[in-house]
Amino acid sequence: MMQPLTVRHFSQIGLLLSVLSFNPAVQAVHLDVEVWGQNDALQAGFCNTPNIVGCDLDGLTNGLNLPQGSLPIEASSGKAIFLADFQDLPGGAFKTKNPGFQAIQNALSPNEAISYRALGVLKYWPANASAWEAAPANTQITLFGGLDLNSGIFNNPEQCNGQLICFSGDTQGTGKSTVFMGSGIQGAPELLIDVANNQGALHTHLSFFLENAQGQLGGPEGAYLLEMQVFSRLRSTPSTPFLVLFNAGLSSEAFTVALSALVKSVDEPGSTPPIINVPDPSAPITDTQQPVFIQGDADLDGDIDRVDVALILLAAQKNEVALVGSDTRDMDNDGTITRQDATLAKANCTLRLCNIPLTAVDAGASVAPAVFNVNAKTLNIRDVQVEGQHYQVQMQLQPNNQFGLQTAQPQAKQAGQASQYHPATGELSIPTVQADQHYYQVRLRNKGGFQFQVEQVQEIEGVSE
């Protein structure tokens, strides 16, 4: 179930951040450039949606004398400066996926393609330096864009010399990167970031690499600054340019000095540098396109995964009261966050890491308790109850009127009549199986080894829900 985003969600996200904020490391690993459309223009900024996941900078800004949740601005240009750290992920000292790019639901048009455009030159701040300078000749930052389904990746074997998937350019993919250098931009200056989903949402992380001119990872210690903007073919005005400041091995203090040189706080000791303020969570949303969120999506990242289940479980452990109005964690809308809410969220979780997905489940499975696909010879049973637990089950018809169990996916109890399995007897009773336009009552018997023998098939008149 989807619901419109309200200011109450901001408080919910604030609570979420408090869960994650006890360890500064996590703050540094999820930094996003928020992207949204505004009429014919594309906007890029920091926390346009207050406290949205991905705008957490505390780990980087704690030592920079910046107000919490704010983003510094380059004094000379007014451009926002996104902070990132090459050492924030276990990929090594010279690689990072930050900043990512995120748009909440309805912030973009459905299936809108968002691209970046590289600008300016790569700047470098050596350790113990006093001024920014162009990056050394043998040092570069390479950014790999997303693959464009229209021109970057093909899946017609006729176009691919027989390969079922192939990629444009050469086979090693070297033509699809942007190289930020002290002398300017090389490679592809514009590349796709990602395509919004059907709800106009987007969340993706590209890959930044610090390397030498030969493409070998590594580079001198210091801070690096690059510039880019985002644009969409659907809108005539790109975003205002913004900067990304990378820490490559500097201490927090040294990195502060590098940042300060950009925001001019060095010239005015004790003054607060120019920042982008997070909107007041209690302020009404001005955007006419109200974002919507999914019930159970505790971290508001557009899906229900096991992170959401864990967050709801943790909230239940703390006996948290649901936020007034709607709270995506309060699945049963009873006003409190309980383990039952976590159970319901788990049942609605469909991602690979949360639940093992079934394949080829017939669309009709949501109508009848079970559907037999006469072409594929698959039997999809919507809800099998086994000693209080419920499963979605797929079976494959085999010779001698036997069905082989293919998949069994745990789930919450489904509406309607469940099929019953009795482990003691091995009997599986399915009240209704739809096959073509006919309905049957079926009884199977477990013969061991995931094999079920058909014992009884009786035609009935219709769906017995």
Binding site: P90, G91, K97, L149
Partner: protein, 755 residues
């Protein structure tokens, strides 16, 4: 050409061939029944004469020996049987054969062991069970076990050269044939004979038990056999994961590592067979039904290696939750770092019939057919997530002749019908039907001290994916269209000349040009393949792979001394391999990327492609009796093998290293002991995207003792100590070498009683 015209309608032709086979069986039965009107005479079948001993039931008459059952092995052939097989028998076929020259074991944890012959494995080596393919999923992926149970084996033959022509064009790497006598081919020495065997392995507390009973009288023979195997997790010296490799490859430190054992490597296997044969004077006919269950785990690979970086900050949230009950399936340790288990089942129906000397000049007409119903279910967190099925029928009709005085040979036809499917999460190969039909002949001609052998084969195969398109899960890409039908024609030829230089010395030159048609996964795979840590991309325009091999062998037998050596050069055109596209696939987000920040989260994307490859290598072995003493003989064996494979740029990956060693034996007819040392050198030529493996010393010791309990029971006690130095051994041919080393020190004690 007639064959070409016939191929135009493959279905009709296959039906015709199968009907011909059936008619042959019926004709054989009719003829033999007529010939054996007086069965009470119960003549011993001619081909089993060498095995007949004192037997009051069987009255031997004058007979002509057909065939040469104990002929010396060709240089390209090796055979393991008897006590040697008993000692070497391991949990897997690869483990059982790993000491054979030119053979290595590609393990994927102790539950999986594929034989690697001269560096080739998978689709290039045919694994047979009494002449019919194993037809499991082992050629598809290195984590799939071979469905042949070595405990049942009576003889295992590794074959290269002209004779491989008989078994299919894709056997360009060789043949491994496990003969198990499930279909009885001879009467037992007495009414009831049998054997019981049990063994215990200290490593993993493994127990193996097996039995077989042969019952036979006059013209009927029955064979019943069964086995049970169980073992716990494998013990190893040191840590399972090569931490240095992980840090170098993925930049990760502090990974989920374990010491002393490899978790999730236990397995349990159970199986049995029943075979019944009618053994007549003019022929035989028999059938067997067998079933094998094998449940095993595979060691964890690189996925979820890093406990300090889970998606969405889970590693920070979970420690705060005090009660996970009811949520273990998504948040428990098994959910975060799941064990993968495989539950394999195979049922086989095998038929065999032979008709001896039906016509002058025709030595034998044989029919062999196997119907294999294979499936394995892959389970994560105890739940099935993928099911692989392989339903195959394979048949062969052969005619052996001795038309001229010095000319013998075989003409045959072989066909295979295969229905393959992989349903579930790991459906990186679509449901596919595969048919093949091959005609072949092997001929041998002897002229003075020269023996010539020729093998020719033509084979046509059809691969027909049931789906018209393939959709990549989680991708916005439209479905990839698939061709309706792929057809391949392959001609193979092999020629060998053996020159008896001296009385007991032979020089053999073999020339082999063999073609292998692409396999299903090479043509049609599309998706992440977690066991090999790759994203596989098939190619529907692949051509046949062509082997051009020259093999020179020398063997010499003298009093107290044996020597055999082979050297080969193999130029393979259009060798099918997996080319790294340079792109990666993020498993958790299901997104294709050009480059990956955290390599542990990404799979490299490999596209099947072709390029020429060259293999060069040798196998050599010398045995000598050093001393003959009253207590027994002292013998010494020296051995070595090596293969080097190269592409035009770089090395062929996962090849075995240079191997050499010595075995010192001491024993007599009652007892034997042996101490064997094998040095495996480092494999520094690891190939593209592979890492080098270090060398190791392998020291094993074996002993056996035979005694009689009364007149009826023969008892054999045996023991084997493996990896006595408890070395950390990482095999260069294993996909999982960086995550699961070979087993540490182990002691096996066994007892076998025959009656």
């Amino acid at each position: 050409m007639l064959a070409q015209r016939l191929f135009l309608n493959k279905r009709k032709l296959l039906i015709v061939v199968q009907l011909v086979g059936l008619l042959l069986v019926l004709n054989l039965v009719n003829t033999v029944f007529a010939a054996d009107s007086n069965l009470n005479k119960a003549k011993q079948p001619k081909q089993v004469q060498p095995l007949a001993e004192d037997n009051s039931i069987v009255q031997l008459e004058e007979m002509e020996v057909i065939g040469t059952p104990d002929a010396p092995l060709a240089p390209q052939q090796s055979s393991l049987k008897g006590k040697a097989l008993q000692i070497q028998q391991g949990d897997t076929l690869g483990k059982t054969l790993e000491q054979e020259l030119g053979v290595s074991n590609a393990s994927f944890g102790p539950g999986v062991g594929l034989p690697v012959v001269r560096g080739l494995t998978g689709s290039r080596v045919r694994l047979l069970q009494s002449g019919i393919g194993s037809h499991d999923a082992s050629s598809l992926s290195p984590d799939h076990a071979v469905a042949i149970e070595p405990l049942f084996a009576e003889e295992i033959t590794v074959l290269r050269g002209p004779e491989t022509i008989r078994y299919g064009g894709n056997a360009i790497g060789g043949i491994v044939d496990v003969k198990d006598n499930r279909i009885p081919e001879r009467l037992p020495k007495q009414l009831i004979t049998g054997a019981l065997e049990t063994r215990y392995d200290t490593n993993g507390e493994g127990t193996n038990s097996a039995f077989k009973v042969d019952i036979g009288k006059e013209w009927l023979a029955l064979n019943v056999a069964g086995f049970f195997r169980s073992r716990g997790d494998t013990r190893i010296p040191g840590q399972a994961i090569d931490a240095a490799f992980i840090e170098q490859q993925f930049g990760l430190t502090g990974v989920n590592n374990v010491s002393d054992t490899i978790p999730n490597t236990d397995n349990e296997s159970l199986g049995g067979s029943v075979g019944l044969s009618w053994l007549g004077d003019k022929g035989m006919a028999g059938l067997s039904v067998s079933h094998t269950d094998n449940q095993y785990g595979v060691p964890k690979g690189s996925h979820a290696l890093d406990p300090n970086h889970l998606e969405g900050g889970l590693e920070l949230i979970l420690p705060q939750i005090t009660d996970l009950s009811g949520f273990e399936d998504v948040l428990g340790t098994q959910a975060l770092f799941p064990n993968i288990r495989l539950d394999m089942q195979q049922t086989r129906y095998d038929f065999k019939s032979e008709w001896y000397e039906p016509l002058p000049g025709i030595e034998r007409i044989g029919f062999r057919y196997g119907l294999v119903d294979y499936q394995h279910v892959e389970l994560e967190r105890g739940l099935p997530f993928s099911t692989f099925k392989n339903d195959v029928g394979e048949g062969r009709v052969e005619i052996d002749h001795h038309g001229l005085e010095n000319l013998t040979g075989t003409v045959g036809v072989q066909w295979i019908n295969r229905d393959f499917s992989a349903l579930g999460v790991e459906t990186y190969v679509p449901e596919t039907q595969q048919d093949s039909l091959g005609f072949y002949t092997t001929q041998a001609y002897t002229l003075d001290q020269f023996e010539f052998k020729l093998g020719l084969r033509t084979e046509q195969s059809w691969i027909d994916p049931n789906a018209s398109s393939l959709k990549l899960r989680g991708s916005a890409l439209p479905a990839t269209p698939l061709p309706d039908d792929l057809k391949f024609q392959a001609e193979s030829a092999s020629f060998a000349i053996k020159w008896a230089l001296l009385d007991q010395a032979n020089l053999t030159l073999t020339l082999n040009r063999g073609k292998r048609s692409p396999d299903i996964q090479e043509l049609l795979s599309l998706g992440p393949h977690l066991s090999t840590r790759s994203f596989d991309i098939g190619n529907v325009q692949l051509k046949n792979e062509t082997v051009n091999m020259v093999d020179l062998g020398f063997d010499w037998q003298a009093e107290g001394l044996e020597f055999r050596a082979n050297a080969y050069y193999n130029q393979t055109d259009d060798f099918i391999y997996q080319r790294n596209t340079g792109f990666v696939y993020e498993v958790d987000t299901e997104v294709i990327r050009q480059r990956c920040v955290s390599a542990a989260e990404c799979l490299p994307m490999y596209a099947y492609d072709q390029r020429d490859a060259t293999f060069i290598g040798y196998e050599a072995e010398a045995k000598a009796t050093l001393a003959k003493m009253t207590q027994g003989d002292v013998s010494l064996k020296l051995f070595s093998d090596y293969v080097r494979g190269t592409f035009s740029e770089g090395d062929v990956p996962r090849l075995p290293p240079l191997r050499y060693g010595a075995e010192l034996g001491f024993g007599n007819e009652v007892w034997n002991t042996a101490l064997r040392y094998t040095r495996s050198e480092a494999q520094d030529r690891a190939g593209l995207n592979e890492n080098a493996t270090g060398g190791f010393h392998l020291l094993t010791a074996t002993a056996d003792y035979q005694l009689k309990l009364g007149d009826a029971v023969q008892l054999s006690l045996f023991a084997k100590a493996s990896n006595l130095l408890n070395e950390e051994m990482r095999s260069s041919v294993s996909f999982l070498r960086n995550y699961a080393p070979e087993p540490g020190r182990s002691f096996v004690f066994g007892l076998r009683a025959t009656f």
